[in-house]
């Protein structure tokens, strides 16, 4: 399911980042790779704040939809 369905406070594992453009590559460089745990810290109208590795990343809803997690 897309990352947008994950409730704040939950940790899930990344299955795939859909698409193949510069933004996806950028996300992968930031650590959004297959099997990596990602925790949703908070959610607001614009998007999500998530924790990946030890970093905190803000992503828009639109992009979060393309991150598939399980």
């Amino acid at each position: 399911m897309p990352l947008t369905f994950t409730a704040a406070g939950k940790t899930v594992k990344i299955v795939k980042v859909k698409g193949k453009d510069d933004t996806v590559r950028f996300l992968q460089n930031l650590g959004f790779v297959e099997g990596e745990p990602v925790a949703v810290i908070s959610e607001n109208a614009g998007g999500l704040i998530v924790r990946i590795k030890d970093g905190r990343v803000a992503i828009s809803k639109e992009m979060a939809c393309r991150i598939l997690v399980a």
């Binding site: 590559r25 950028f26 460089n29 650590g31």
Partner: protein
């Protein structure tokens, strides 16, 4: 021998802080990713051992050697093309895993390298531990612990870096698993002698990743290219992933194993203070009110309250009552020539003094900006504003240049490099100077004080005008062919909040504030001297002489040549026209020129209220029209230069300047014409044209969007 040491690392890992510590310079730091956008060189401080000199190079932060935004291209280019003698790889110790990802790539370049684990003060505070010996072994390069902010470990780092550079021993890449290694050697075999002998592996990996630049560089024949492509595709099929992701995962895998045996990580609190603050300041409902409140406070305090109390003191008391009369008296008492007295008192003190009077306000503004920049809120602002800006076709990242632009337009225009998409970047460059910079502050304060009796709404209205101009420009421009299309999806790292360091804030305020003062002492001084001579001399009764009536001066002649252009805007007087034109050199000149033409000279004679005569030559609407024109029109030469550099195209430069000037003219026209019509009922051709402009503007705003193919 000169050794170049490049500082490379992730954004916000502390490279510039280290650079400042090493070179004693005062470069721009801040707590958000993407502060540095251009490389900067400096001489290593206190290093003069014999023949060797050391140059330190600060680079923009990068997440990988495959650049995403423009400033990252700068770093990749420098590292790969200029090949420094050594790299100091700055790694943020509180986020080791992600930071080491870049380290694995830097090691592949073959450039001798030292890894500096920065932010050790925070790592220790978290009670985490690093096994340096193990890390050195795993990474295959020296590792030094430092804290750039506290200047700890810096000497050791430099010693190590210099010795590594002198040894010139190339760094080696980390090995992948067997399967991937065989793929890489297969590619090397296929490419045979084509790969540069000094570092074939790096090229092979890049070819595998389908790095366009490298593939181009290698000039492969069509058939060889096809063969390689087919091979990569077959590997991709086997892995069920694209080649780039395969490498990315493999790198992260290398790091995981490494971290495992050299880093004792404590179970961090899952809910840090920063997370809790974020929950409030990025909250669905609260985010915007909080942001609006912060912004209001910043500008209200710096422009209207504290700043203006100080400024009034400097203007009225310091210059008006103390310096001016005493300077005038002193010059008279030593029997100084009348013209020289005029030049010094009316020209220099009047002009430069009018500008210097705003120094307190500008320092207060810079103080707030420095705190905002160093605490970590900037990145959040970009995130919060993204949702809104997207509707106007801009990305939230455009807001960072705009905030920086309240200080100075030049770094603001450069800061737009962090915006991924060219069209959004260009639009940000075009619109960011609509936000009043610190040099426009004196114009705002002057108009507010002299024409509106210091009304509290004038200063906020100037910022409001800037924001409305940006938003409407966004909407209008997005509907044209040049800018159509959506901005890239928002992705940005959010740093931890921290209490701004006194040192950083002080440096930043000092650096920028003093450059304002310096500018007053150089460009503004020169301009006011020229303006004074031009207004003091001219033709009277057919001879060139010092004029009795300013209206006969050269400046009046020159001003009158262009003043007609501004007549429809309500200020077709040569003095206002001259002020606006000198404003192109530097915006402070608008006030400086008025200072020479109207200002302190009067005060000295009759002690009348400051700027008394100025108000008699403007109405409320022509005054506001003058203000808006100067806020929106083409910025100063320095900022125009920045626009030209960043646009990197003559056509785009002229589009930007043309658009700004046109918009400024149209807005001022409408304000003056419509305002005059409503208040006095005078209806002229100008009113008709203003009406047409308004209708045209509304049409451009609401016309249907162009569909992008």
């Amino acid at each position: 021998m000169n050794i170049r040491i490049a500082l490379a690392g992730n954004p916000n890992s502390g490279k510039t802080t280290l650079f400042n510590a090493l070179t004693g310079s005062n470069q721009y730091t801040g707590n958000w990713p993407g502060v540095t956008v251009e490389k900067k060189e400096g001489k290593l401080k206190g290093y003069g051992k014999g023949e060797t000199t050391v140059t330190v190079v600060d680079l923009p932060g990068i997440y990988s050697l495959s650049p995403y935004t423009l400033e990252e291209v700068v770093s990749r280019k420098y590292l790969l093309e200029e090949k420094p003698e050594a790299i100091v790889n700055i790694v943020d110790g509180t986020n080791l895993e992600r930071n080491l990802y870049l380290t694995t790539q830097l090691k592949e370049t073959g450039i001798p390298m030292v890894t500096a684990v920065n932010m050790m003060d925070l790592v220790r505070k978290n009670k985490e531990e690093l096994n340096l010996a193990q890390m050195e072994k795993d990474l295959g390069c020296p590792v030094v612990e430092i804290s750039a902010l506290k200047e700890e470990g810096i000497d050791r780092l430099i010693e190590t870096a210099v010795s590594v550079a002198k040894k010139a021993e190339p760094s080696h890449r980390l090995v992948f698993d067997e399967k991937l290694e065989s793929v890489i050697s297969a590619i090397e075999k296929k490419l045979g002698g084509l790969l540069p002998q000094n570092n074939p592996d790096w090229y092979a990996i890049k070819v595998f990743e389908r790095d366009e630049k490298v593939v181009e560089q290698l000039c492969l024949t069509a058939s060889l290219k096809q063969e390689i492509d087919a091979y990569i595709s077959s590997v991709e099929k086997e892995y069920d992933d694209d080649s780039e992701s395969i490498i990315t995962s493999a790198r992260y895998h290398q790091i995981e194993t490494m971290i495992h045996d050299c880093y004792v990580k404590r179970n961090r609190q899952s809910d840090s203070i920063s997370d809790r603050i974020d929950r409030v300041v990025t909250n669905r409902i609260l985010a915007l009110p909080i942001f609006a409140l912060v912004m209001f406070l910043v500008y209200y305090v710096s422009v209207t309250t504290v700043g203006s109390i100080l400024t009034d003191f400097v203007n009225d008391t310091l210059f008006g009552e103390w310096i001016l009369p005493s300077a005038s008296a002193a010059l008279e008492s030593i029997g100084c020539a009348e013209w020289l007295n005029g030049l010094v008192v009316e020209g220099i003190i009047g002009g430069v003094g009018a500008v210097l009077g705003f120094v307190p306000q500008i320092f207060v503004l810079y103080l707030f900006l420095a705190v905002l920049e160093d605490c970590g809120y900037m990145a959040r602002i970009a995130f919060i504003m993204d949702r809104i800006f997207r509707r106007f076709g801009l990305s939230g990242k455009s807001f960072i240049p705009m905030l920086i632009g309240t200080g100075c337009g030049v770094p603001a225009i450069m800061a737009s490099r962090t915006i991924e998409q060219d069209r959004d970047r260009r639009m940000t460059i075009m619109t960011t100077t609509f936000i009043p910079c610190s040099a426009k502050l004196p114009i705002i304060a002057l108009i507010a004080g002299a024409l509106f009796d210091g009304a509290a709404w004038v200063a906020p209205s100037a910022y409001f005008t800037g924001i409305v101009a940006i938003v409407t420009s966004g909407i209008i421009l997005k509907k044209t062919r040049l800018f159509a299309g959506d901005p890239s999806p928002f992705v940005m790292e959010l740093p931890d909040y921290h209490i701004p360091s006194v040192k950083n804030v002080f440096h930043s305020v000092w650096e920028r504030g003093s450059s304002f003062v310096k500018k007053a002492g150089t460009i503004i001084l020169l301009s006011t001297i020229i303006v004074w001579f031009m207004q003091a001399f001219g033709f009277e009764n057919g001879v060139f002489t010092m004029v009795e009536d300013m209206n006969n001066s050269i400046l009046a002649m020159a001003g009158n040549c262009i003043a007609w252009i501004f007549t429809p805007l309500g200020w077709g007087d040569w003095k206002a026209a001259a002020a606006a034109v000198t404003g192109l050199v530097a915006k402070e000149n608008v006030v400086g020129t008025f200072g020479v033409l109207y200002g302190f000279g009067e005060v000295a004679e009759d002690g009348m209220e400051l700027w008394g005569t100025l108000s008699s030559e403007f109405t409320a609407f022509s005054g506001f029209s003058f203000l808006v024109f100067n806020l929106l029109c083409a910025p100063c030469f320095a900022a125009m230069g920045a626009i030209a550099r960043e646009m990197n195209s003559a056509m785009w430069f002229w589009i930007a300047i043309g658009y700004q000037t046109l918009l400024a003219y149209a807005c001022s026209l409408c304000i003056y014409q419509v305002g005059t019509w409503i208040t006095t009922g005078v209806f002229t051709l100008g009113t008709v044209i203003a009406g047409i402009a308004i209708i045209g503007f509304i049409y451009l705003l609401i016309r249907p969007e162009r569909k992008v193919a």
